[in-house]
Chain length 288, copies 2
């Protein structure tokens, strides 16, 4: 078996940022997945790379210039993983779902999103289990038991709690009548201020991470329709921190103070995956 | 000047994830910063890369095997940016630094940030060079020459323009009296709507990338105080797309429509590096 015998089928996923590509194809008539990723540039090859490469000037402006370098092959490897024979499961695992931005007006929310949420009756039983101490009770970092303004703070599943570099906690509110950002009104200001204040205090106390190192934010759309707030350390570029999905709690509080109907009236932009049923609802309505 | 003459000093920053490295050193006895970043792996070179590379088997286990490939140089470039002569500021800019969140009130902006910006008189000569066609004229993708509402659209330095996966363009406004988001008022709505509309149109025409695949956003604080708007493909998780620094243009337009003083009055949160002089100004004022 050899990489050079790989017949390229289709690209499953690639990342210009990470310089990798996941490809489905064939080797000797067998299904195969091949993953290529360029190697990091390390200090030990740096001087040789600069000296031994051919260089092509692309642009010059004032003190800035850009080049295309072509280093000799032995300094510039590509880490390659081959899975062969590959099953349909491997192929699906590596396939990226395309994402689109949707601009949801107030009317879109009422006529498309809200009926969709209601029709799906997404289960948040697991959230209720936590709030009622039927599950994960030992993981709770802090609780304010107030039924109106209280919440439970606990580590997100993504965080292994081994280091604070990727600290990630979630505050789940006790009240069960707020689905998402869209439902928020000035009535919820005491709840939101309480989460911010006591959540930050609890994280400082337990992990010694101050407010200036934390993104405190909500997602829209959220992954589940029971109001929750994310606390993520600033140095950790977690998925979901992008401007297209995240809303800083301080901004939410300010917006509600100044414009009571901000979140019910404003057009909200959010990313949505190609296989999300909600996207097909927006398509059916001719809104995407 | 030549890349091969660069004498490596110290590594300012590197990313194994992004396959880049930022180095401080000398070219012909002048201070220089050089940035190397491997190019993404694209579909058009894939078959040739697999066929023409030397391959070295590293590991085999059941259906999994890994190799080290060494592609021929012309298929495996390194995008290189040289800043020479580089000042201490450039060196600092690229040096990895701890980051903090600052909450800047209206008063903070007037008493700390604005005096700091004015005192520094950051040069935006390179922006003027572009607007006046003294540099990079061949890189311009689109221009609306109107002095009030016009702008120049061109690829960001970070984008090598070889694939749309990491498409990144910048719109630089022709008018020179708007420093940042903080200066925006409803007077600028025609300018902002124009950038959004014509920018998206130009990108669709040139690159066939639709609005639903693009984050159109501003940074606060910006890297330079001449109003500009970033157009970045949604699939590309570029640095600077995080909620702590980015502001979607559609939100900016909406906020200005509903609240004329939104950006002059609101508290704005932004990340700031430990070595940024602006942070020390906030510290001196007892605000951090």
């Amino acid at each position: 078996m050899s990489v050079s015998g790989f017949k390229v089928g289709r690209i499953l996923r690639d990342s210009a940022r990470e310089k990798n590509i996941f490809v489905h194809g064939k080797i000797d008539d067998q299904d195969a997945v091949i993953i290529l990723e360029k190697t990091p540039i390390t200090q030990d090859v740096l001087s040789e790379m600069l000296k031994e490469s051919t260089q092509l000037l692309e642009m010059k402006n004032d003190i800035y210039s850009t080049y295309q370098l072509h280093p000799p092959p032995h300094l510039n490897g590509v880490k390659t993983t081959v899975i062969c024979p590959a099953t349909e499961k491997h192929v699906k695992k590596y396939q990226r779902q395309e994402t689109f931005l949707v601009e949801e007006t107030e009317e879109d929310y009422q006529s498309i999103t809200l009926p969709y949420i209601n029709s799906q009756s997404f289960s948040v039983q697991w959230v209720y289990n936590i709030l009622e101490k039927k599950a994960e009770a030992d993981r709770i970092v802090f609780e304010d038991p107030d039924p109106q303004d209280g919440f439970v703070l606990l580590p997100d599943f993504k965080w292994d709690q081994k280091q604070v570099d990727d600290l990630y906690l979630i505050a789940l509110v006790h009240r069960r009548d707020v689905k998402s950002l869209r439902d928020l009104t000035p009535d919820h200001l005491p709840l939101l201020r309480n989460i911010r204040e006591k959540g930050l205090e609890a994280i400082m106390k337990r992990y010694s991470v101050p407010a200036s190192k934390l993104r405190v934010m909500l997602h829209y759309q959220p992954s589940y329709y029971h109001l929750h707030v994310h606390f993520i350390t600033l140095d950790y570029e977690a998925p979901g921190c992008g401007v297209e999905r995240a809303h800083l709690l301080t901004d939410v509080i300010q917006n509600l103070q100044d414009q009571p109907e901000y979140y019910s009236k404003h057009t909200l932009t959010f990313p949505i995956r190609a296989d999300d049923t909600l996207l097909s609802k927006f398509r059916d309505a001719g809104r995407v």
